[in-house]
Subunit: 298 residues, 2 copies
């Protein structure tokens, strides 16, 4: 930094996709001058117009290759299923030394769907800012979304250290704590903390919706705290979550198997009237809450 005007971290940033995460990132970049120039690209002109109206885009185009040209940092902020097509499209336009990063909830996909298409001299830095709400779209974003949350980077063994450091700094400027781990480990951890809870919420809300009409009406009317939380989680973006389950299927199916075993064991305890077993289990999980609170993610 020199003088009172901070030097931008990147001269030109390109955001591919401007939903909740992409538009929130754009807000921080704009507010704090983290880039000299923001280019956005999306699938619909309406989205681009919204970003322009919000003052979050210096340039906006439906052409992803055009958007990526001359960018110092390109951030994929789309559902995971779009990654491979985008990588193919932007690869020829990327300049040497450009960094390609993302914000997705599964990180192996960057190595399987993106890396093979990138030209040498372009640096890939997979990133996952662990933040979100059940709302979608550019208007749903807000600059404070990331504050105090974790951002996990999963560089490969050959990643460019300077590129990793610059992406880490971007997310630190968003007030996130940055952590580095392997993509495999990330995908296992998130399968438990995020993907399985979403799958369960999607499932139970569907179960309620399939009830007989009179019961269903009352279920929504009297939804107590548990069910209400689930409906919120199950209101998350359908396409984004479809892609997460398809791309992280191995880890999700593994943890789903473990969960089903545990649920079956509680089911058996209820059927047999084994109160001690239930109480023991519930007492243990109550103690775990403290572990989560101590980890300061509340």
């Amino acid at each position: 930094m020199t003088g009172s005007q901070p030097t931008p971290l990147f001269e030109r940033i390109t955001l591919i996709g401007t939903g909740l995460i992409g538009s929130s990132l754009a807000r921080v970049v704009r507010r704090d001058g983290l880039a000299g120039h923001i280019t956005v690209t999306a699938r619909s002109q309406a989205t681009l117009d919204t970003m322009t109206d919000l003052g979050l885009a210096d340039a906006a185009t439906l052409d992803a290759a055009e958007a990526a040209r001359n960018a110092d940092l390109v951030v994929l902020c789309t559902p995971l299923g779009a990654y491979e097509g985008i990588a193919r499209t932007i690869a020829p336009a990327l300049k040497p030394g450009a960094i390609v990063s993302d914000v997705g909830s599964c990180k192996n996909v960057m190595f399987t769907d993106v890396a093979p298409h990138l030209p040498s001299g372009v640096h890939m830095v997979p990133a996952h800012p662990v933040a979100g709400t059940e709302h979608s779209g550019p208007e749903a974003g807000f600059a404070e979304l990331f504050e105090g949350r974790w951002c996990i980077l999963t560089p490969g063994p050959d990643s460019n250290e300077d590129a990793v450091a610059r992406v880490a700094e971007l997310w630190r400027r968003c007030a996130m704590d940055v952590e580095i781990m392997t993509a495999d480990h990330h995908d296992q951890v998130l399968a438990i903390t995020s993907h399985l809870p979403h799958l369960i919420a999607y499932s139970i809300v569907g179960t309620a919706n399939d009830l007989e009409d009179d019961l269903k009406k009352e279920v929504f009317k009297f939804s107590a705290s548990g069910f209400r939380d689930f409906t919120r989680i199950a209101a998350s973006d359908p396409v984004m979550w479809r892609d997460i389950f398809l791309k992280n299927s191995d880890a999700v199916l593994d943890v789903l198997g473990r969960f089903t075993e545990d649920l079956t064991s509680l089911q058996r305890a209820i059927r047999r009237g084994e109160g001690d077993k239930l109480e023991d289990h519930f007492t243990r999980t109550r103690a775990i809450r403290r572990g989560v609170l101590d980890a300061k993610q509340e």
Copy 2:
């Protein structure tokens, strides 16, 4: 009501158990003068001392029969498993015309465990104020807990109408909306909206706790929104929930069976890579959220 000093709804109220719900009710009764006299009873002297220190008890005793003597309204605010013993204990002390009510999350238990022990001339009015937090104990209570939430009454076919009306008025004074239905129907609805979500949360948090140490540590560290919500739910009172699952086992096992079918179907879609099926399901559940919001329980 006469003049500026409202006539109490009940001359003498006795609360059996003074945890989150019992102590919250005591706070409203005290604040708004809904009873001329509040007697509390609990299993431990420490709890009674806390209630007295909080100014929420005119009389406090470890003897439930003594507490129930001369009461116009007795409210059971204990875990469901204690109901039968309490009913046996207080029955001989109840005065003719006394009302016995409760706040439990399963309502058939009032007919199976309490009603058979009550002397004739005593009126039973099962009630369930659908409100709560994951915190327990007399200090966790607050008068605003009930505001804007539902209270469900499940009188039997022979219930005394005046007694039902008086209990309904008590909860309306707590700022709740009162609804009347059968105990069977209540227990089915709550199995879905509350009991199953709690069972699932208890299960998934247990699953996470049984992971290998390095993974487990990271799961708590990076707990994203889904898992964090579950840990909150799974921190609810273990004994209270043990009893709910034991007393409402039929309805819980029924809805658990439906849920497991639905989860298995999503699992199969993930394994087979059926993206359309996942997206369809997630789109439907997102729409359901609106139904819940429209029902004004958010």
